[in-house]
């Protein structure tokens, strides 16, 4: 047989299959790329509008830019400014810590222990998913008024935590179950006290779940409008409460400028959480392609 020809034949068969596989991957990649573009488009429009001064119809690009929107959004005029931002971040951070701690305990009870009423409890944890938060908000307002939690920061944090709880539980359930208790048992058998065990074993092995739960609760609290409006009663002014009227208002530049500040702040915090996650070596997909 013709040796060079045979050699080429071999390569082409393998190449052919690899080409097929590459093509399938390329199609999937392209479609994912389309999705990324669709994600990016609205965000870019917000960014452009935030700096737009004049954008007459039917131009595709603004005629003039200005920083007046951003200046106003950061200047502290009209209830807005660093105080509001600091308050919002504080509430969101407190909500994130509270909810995550509560969810971690609940997941532990759900995953590692058999007890009467566990199924009912598990069902109850998803109630805030199902019953609309608007229903909850209107109902709890009167209750909070009576017990003096309405129009207070703790009241807002509490309300946010309740709504965020099922998300936190969902995010932490799988990892809690996967972590199991055997490492803790090992630690205890090696002489670790309860606190040492918590610090060196329990928390580290749950860390990826804890971080994503923190991040999710933070975001939920930070962007919660309706609940904050009702429970805060106008006294607790978070960023969203200030931002919201502009969204339906006429000045698009201002609305987009506020939105941009909002986006930057949430993404920044989100990225911090992501970096934390990476730093602590959470590699969820590590073994998937091995």
């Amino acid at each position: 047989m013709n040796a060079p020809l045979e050699k080429r034949n071999r390569q082409t068969l393998l190449e052919k299959r690899k080409r097929q596989m590459r093509r399938a991957t390329a199609i999937a990649r392209t479609l994912v790329g389309v999705e990324l573009a669709l994600v990016a488009l609205p965000l870019l429009v917000i960014v452009v509008w935030a700096f737009t001064d004049a954008w007459p119809w039917p131009d595709l690009w603004p005629q003039a830019f200005s920083a007046r929107g951003i200046e106003q959004a950061l200047s502290g005029r009209q209830n807005m400014g660093w105080d509001t931002l600091a308050l919002s971040i504080g509430i969101a951070a407190a909500c994130a810590v509270l909810t995550t701690a509560v969810a971690a305990l609940a997941c532990r009870a759900l995953c590692h222990f058999q007890w009467r009423g566990r199924d009912v409890f598990q069902f109850a944890t998803i109630l805030p998913f199902i019953i609309p938060s608007t229903v909850f908000a209107m109902g709890i307002q009167v209750v909070f008024l009576q017990i003096g939690l309405a129009r207070t920061v703790p009241g807002v944090i509490l309300a946010h935590s309740i709504v965020a709880l099922p998300y936190a539980i969902i995010l932490m359930t799988d990892i809690t179950r996967a972590a199991g208790t055997h490492r803790e048992e090992a630690a205890r058998s090696l002489g670790a006290g309860p606190w040492q065990m918590l610090r060196h074993v329990t928390i580290p092995q749950l860390l990826p779940g804890i971080v994503s739960s923190l991040s999710m609760c933070y975001i939920m609290s930070f962007s919660q409008y309706f609940l904050t409006l009702l429970v805060g009663g106008g006294r607790v002014q978070t960023f969203v409460l200030v931002l919201f009227p502009y969204l339906s208002g006429g000045d698009r530049t201002i609305a987009c400028a506020y939105s941009l500040v909002f986006l930057v702040v949430t993404f920044a915090v989100f990225l911090i959480f992501e970096l934390l996650l990476r730093r602590f070596g959470a590699r969820e997909e590590g073994s998937l392609y091995g």
């Binding site: 071999r10 393998l14 299959r17």
Partner: protein, 309 residues
């Protein structure tokens, strides 16, 4: 079907996983790939099944290059270490799955599935959910499922390592019996030297992505090509003895030659016995063994002992 790999190279994640791997498995043979973890054994199976395309070299089924054939058309079946039964189907549906994929009519594939379940001694388990079964039963279902595919090559990826010792012995016997019964070309990856010795026609020893030695169990055991191979068999699992009239004898031990896993013919009359086949009749191995097949083990400076599998 004859299965052959020619000069397979594969890099994954910047590491050489397979380097110039070549070997052949003759039609109907049972061959083991033995080696430490990380030697590239499982990857080899994936290349044969087409789950991972190699960088160079080729895979041949009966002399035909199958490099362009996607996994589902290669007609190989893998029994995975982690079993991988489909939890959304009952046991019978699991076993019938490959037939469904081959568009076998429903009645026929269910009948075949039941036959396969009987072959792995799980009659009447067809309607069970997979998660109701014990680990050993699940692995038997997985074997039945692979057999139902009537694969040209049966690929076993450390199929018994998740089971306890007792079950492992039973499964080895079962697989050996099924191989004798169905006669399909089989390639088993294992890190257990005893397993490779007692079950295989030939053994391929891999280390660090290369084939270090290929040969009969006796070859590897008695004439290891390198220290790693010798170490794999724990320096000595052979026992000296004499052969008279087709019977190997060493002290009180008498074993029929036909049941020896490996036997050094070059030293006829003063042979080295290494192990008995998985399906060897018990009383012929040694009266002292409660039941089951055995490997004879000799550790330097110790009395040779019989190691029940």
């Amino acid at each position: 079907m004859q299965l052959a790999l020619e000069n397979i190279d594969l890099r994954l994640g910047g590491k050489d996983i397979l380097r110039d791997v070549s070997f052949a498995v003759d039609d109907g043979r049972f061959v083991s790939v033995l080696g430490e973890s990380g030697a590239g054994k499982s990857t080899t199976l994936k290349v044969i099944a087409g789950l991972l395309p190699q960088d160079s070299g080729r895979v041949l089924f009966d002399g035909t290059c199958v490099d362009d054939v996607p996994t589902h058309k290669r007609n190989t079946a893998i029994v995975f270490q982690d079993i991988r039964l489909f939890p959304n189907m009952d046991v019978r549906q699991n076993v019938a799955f490959p037939l469904k994929m081959r568009k076998v009519p429903r009645a026929e594939r269910l009948a075949t599935a039941d036959r396969m379940l009987a072959a792995v001694q799980l009659e009447g388990f067809g309607n069970r959910r997979t998660y109701e079964l014990s680990g050993g039963q699940q692995q038997r279902v997985a074997v039945a499922r692979a057999l139902a595919a009537k694969p040209d090559a049966l690929l076993l990826d450390e199929p018994f390592s998740g089971l306890d010792e007792q079950l492992r012995a039973e499964m080895r016997q079962l697989v050996s019996r099924l191989h004798a019964e169905f006669g399909m070309t089989s390639l088993m990856v294992t890190h257990d030297a005893d397993e490779a010795l007692t079950m295989s026609d030939r053994i391929i020893y891999m280390s660090d992505g290369r084939v270090v030695q290929e040969g009969t169990p006796a070859d590897l055991l008695l004439r290891p090509a390198s220290d790693v191979v010798r170490a794999a068999f724990n320096d000595a699992s052979s026992i000296e003895g004499r052969v008279e009239g087709g019977i190997f004898m060493s002290g009180k031990l008498c074993v029929s030659l036909a049941d020896l896993a490996a036997y050094d013919e070059t030293r006829a009359g003063d042979a080295a016995l290494v192990g008995a086949r998985a399906n060897a009749p018990v009383e012929q191995v040694a009266p002292a063994i409660p039941d089951g097949p055995a490997v004879l083990v000799r550790v330097p400076d110790r009395t040779p002992f019989v190691h029940a599998l």
